[in-house]
Subunit: 293 residues, 2 copies
């Protein structure tokens, strides 16, 4: 398999689907729809939706059936970035190399655009195609749990209130497991559930997603220190400026690299029960660490 | 039927259910859970959940089966109030006679508490009890549509950007139909769908909900002018201070009263196909206008 080609192909279908699912920029009231489109269609690696598609495909589902769920996970990710960037939170002016949503549309519209994307995500989830509506209900339950205070928002709260404080390994791991890890877990699990996965396969894939998320986050922290802006995709040194807790701060650079390697190994081991159908997910682990395109 | 007794009984079961569905104040991270509980459990008329229960009951469903949906609609309402009150929106310090969420917990936590309540609403919707999971999917679809940019958020956007501007009847009606009306519509429709309503009954009840919402909103505008703080449940004169468009401003006090009476009549007419099982909904129209307890 040419991983790079396959990855780009998946990203392209996700981008096309997102464009189709977003309200028209002229639909009334246009301001909110333009603000939503600005952040959603403005780039991004689309890692979460690609992960969802890959998990579903590997178990026999088609892109078309699970695409609303893939896009929903990306909308949840995007809403959290818009709210994160607001002055009352991290006060960031730039995101993905462009002005943050509130710098273009103002804070009130940015707040509502975030709310609207979270709401639209749940609307999209109801549009998954399956003969088993109970699976759609389950997927919505998993997405809401993963995006809530025992997932994404929980990580966000602890992260926000850990700034400037001495934090320990447990708290750092809580933040990463929830703030980054939960949407990886949601993506993989929802793709698998919609494809009719067995509970056993679901367990293996959940473990894979957790270690993949961990590897990604440690690598993110490392790149922020070593200063590889191109591979990081955002300005380096922001963790230190924002006084955020990171792996290198707690474990040093060498210690962090070891932890990343261990997470990669564990992610690969979680896929051992599967055959060549899991090759894309295997190669994705390397991509997340190397980010070489 | 003793309407007052029946209404208070329904409010009490809703309050009890809300308490049960909210995360414990000690669950980690406690700050966000306390902020969520502060706004949800801090009073409110519970009109939307009562409406959902009443529509479901009248068609033969039990409270227990639809309670998660009733509470979900109240959570969506509460999240929108918390975000509305933020300084970057309406900048209100008080809500339901208490300090606004952000005045107690700070703006960052209030933002995230609103996000978390919206997310929890969708989690609750997945917990409705029915033999027809496709009805749960439909209810989630209706809730997401009604809470989105073609419903609640759409009304909010237009309202926010109409302050200080000359607005016409069309825009005023758009704001009220969406900002207030959409959750009334969602409540009645979701209750009815979960009870297995026919499409015909659903149409009648939708019309009822729309006129009920309109009557409520016109009466709210009138009370803000005539200054009956007790019946309004919030400080009077705020529309004028906030330069909001209102019915009295466009149609005068007498004209607004006529419009309210017409909406009441239409709401009652929409219930004509039903028998005595719709009596609670009939009496609810009077309550919304008179608010005498």
């Amino acid at each position: 398999m040419d991983f790079k080609e396959e990855f780009n192909k998946k990203t392209a279908v996700v981008n096309e689907a997102l464009e189709g699912f977003m309200p028209s920029p002229d639909a009334y009231p246009p301001l909110i729809h333009r603000a939503m489109r600005y952040s959603v269609l403005g780039g991004g690696k689309r890692l979460r939706p690609v992960l969802l598609l890959a998990a579903a495909e590997m178990l026999g589902a088609t892109d078309r059936d699970v695409m609303p769920a893939a896009c929903a996970v990306e909308l949840i990710h995007t809403y959290s970035l818009i709210h994160d960037d607001l002055p009352l939170m991290d006060n960031d002016d730039y995101r993905r190399g462009k002005l943050a949503n509130h710098k273009v549309y103002g804070e009130a519209v940015a707040l509502l655009a975030g709310d609207a994307l979270l709401t639209l995500a749940f609307l999209l989830l109801t549009k998954c195609r399956t003969d088993r509506p109970e699976d759609v209900v389950r997927v919505i339950n998993e997405a809401a749990a993963g995006a809530g205070t025992r997932g994404l928002i929980g990580g966000q709260v602890v992260d926000t209130f850990s700034v400037d404080k001495e934090i320990d390994t447990d708290i750092l791991e809580y933040i990463h497991r929830n703030k980054t890890g939960s949407l990886y877990r949601v993506a993989v699990r929802c793709g698998a559930i919609l494809a009719g996965a067995s509970e056993k396969d679901l367990d293996y894939l959940t473990e894979y997603a957790e270690y993949l998320g961990l590897a990604f986050q440690i690598e993110d922290d490392i790149l922020d220190v070593t200063g590889d802006e191109k591979r990081l995709g955002k300005p380096v040194g922001s963790d230190k400026r924002n006084k955020k807790a990171t792996y290198p701060a707690l474990f040093g650079l060498e210690g962090s690299k070891n932890k990343a390697r261990l997470a990669v190994k564990k992610a690969e081991e979680a896929l051992e029960p599967f055959g060549s159908e899991a090759d894309f997910l295997r190669l994705l682990v390397e991509y997340v660490i190397n980010r070489d395109f």
